[in-house]
Symmetry: C2
Subunit: 291 residues, 2 copies
């Protein structure tokens, strides 16, 4: 592995296998061609036009769209989709940041509809006399996804209707027993984005990176069963583990590489410097068609 | 102005007005259609094929290309191009980072050939008891470009054949009298990229951002006539000056906005957060065609 290998591994999507779907004029996400033809096209909720699939315009409010799609998703669930991953947790479908939500969608269905998701990913670090250290959790061996892998200090999906910082404070308490007054000091410092494909599912995801400098005497503690254990590692050990192994959950590597860049651990004269920094933000909608 | 306005102002290029030019299989840059048809096409050095303009393949070494192009550029100079900006300073023409230079080109001609340029842009800051401060230089009123505007603490174009960090250390001495042992502590922490058009000229530039924490007792001092004066500003004053005015040279605003993001001065719940962070890196070659 190398840092660029992790970026390539996250950005494994072949967009030629996907078609856009729209709510009104707004692109809401992407459907795999086979899933669109075999499943979505037969739902009665979508019609195919030249540029992609269009949700029934009669569903003219977020509430109506959410309800109609939920009914459809429940029939899919009955047919074996989403397996044990159905969570009764709603994500927002919104085409661009800052625009109002177009509808909400059950979290486990989001990658089937190629809807952009994301959430806060926080690196909790300590400045010790002997250098920078990072609190590294190991995911619970009971988790349905990526059991036992290493993770970002605190991370979570972003439920509809909650602020990013608010969500992070909540996750800090649940996952690491970080009290709110400490968690509130976390700073949003970057964005990491990638296009990950798994079979017919697509994640065009955008993670918001937070840094939190923790006092030396504070020890995070697993609280909700999501985390098996926390260890404080010297940053160089994290650096080498990311660079050389796949021990971290795939997208958490990118958040840590972004941390290494921002904290000056890479050299500008490394020929991979620009490709790495560039590769951390493969974005959803290039501005004004440039690039 | 707003942060997004500065990003839009830097990314004002209409790429439909430009055609690619190639050295072998590699895209070396972009030519404005009118400049290509009226000037470059008549040089005898380029031939037009379906996908753009191709430099004479008989020029089969970097040295031959550099010499032939220099002779052509000198004839253009004789016809009034480049005005007082000709510098006898060579930039590298290289399609991707990490690949060898394909040729060198006089700096003042680079935007006429839409060749990616860049260089180190450093923010020199001080952590004082009363908060973060930034050393802000005002450009000399004698400079041919952007006289009297505010600038990044130290910044410079990247001459061919010099390392980025090496160049930064040199510029730190020349522009701000920062001694080498201090300048060497600067850390490469980000990349800012934009597509700026000025008439027939295109800058698809990539700046490498460095941070240097300076000791409170150090005062930068103009050394080579490029800088009129330095002032130490509280970060909030820099923040507001960037946000609300055009006092900084256009591309320096982006380096400072990147600094504000990395140092946690923006909120993740600002609806502009992702568009701003995304907008700071409009890149040359999207990886694997995604995005």
């Amino acid at each position: 592995m190398s840092f660029l290998d992790h970026i390539r591994r996250c950005n494994n999507a072949d967009l030629s296998q996907f078609e856009s779907w729209f709510i009104g004029q707004e692109r809401a996400g992407f459907l795999h061609r086979d899933f669109a033809a075999d499943v979505v096209g037969k739902s009665g909720l979508f019609t195919r036009r030249e540029n992609g699939w269009h949700l029934d315009p009669g569903l003219d409010t977020p509430a109506k769209r959410t309800a109609a799609m939920r009914a459809f998703l429940l029939t899919l669930r009955g047919r074996g989709y989403f397996k044990g991953l159905w969570r009764e947790e709603e994500y927002a479908v919104a085409p661009h940041d800052g625009t109002p939500m177009l509808m909400a969608m059950e979290r486990s269905a989001v990658p089937w509809f190629g809807v952009r998701a994301g959430g806060p990913h926080m690196t909790g670090f300590v400045r010790r006399a002997d250098g920078l250290h990072i609190w590294v959790p190991r995911r619970s061996y009971e988790k349905p996804t990526f059991p036992g892998q290493l993770d970002n200090t605190v991370a979570g999906g972003q439920p509809a209707g909650l602020g990013l910082h608010e969500n992070l404070v909540k996750e800090c308490g649940e996952e690491a027993s970080i009290p709110p007054q400490l968690a509130k000091q976390a700073k949003a410092v970057s964005v990491v984005a990638y296009w990950n494909q798994s079979g017919q599912q697509l994640k065009p995801d955008v993670m918001t990176c937070f840094d939190l400098e923790l006092p030396e005497e504070f020890t995070p503690r697993a609280n909700d069963g999501e985390v098996h254990s926390f260890e404080l590692w010297p940053v160089q050990r994290v650096f080498e583990t990311v660079r050389d192994t796949e021990e971290f959950k795939y997208n958490c590597n990118l958040v840590l590489i972004d941390f290494f860049v921002r904290h000056g651990l890479l050299s500008a004269d490394d020929p991979d410097f620009v490709p790495i920094v560039q590769g951390l933000r493969m974005m959803y909608t290039p501005m004004s068609g440039i690039g």
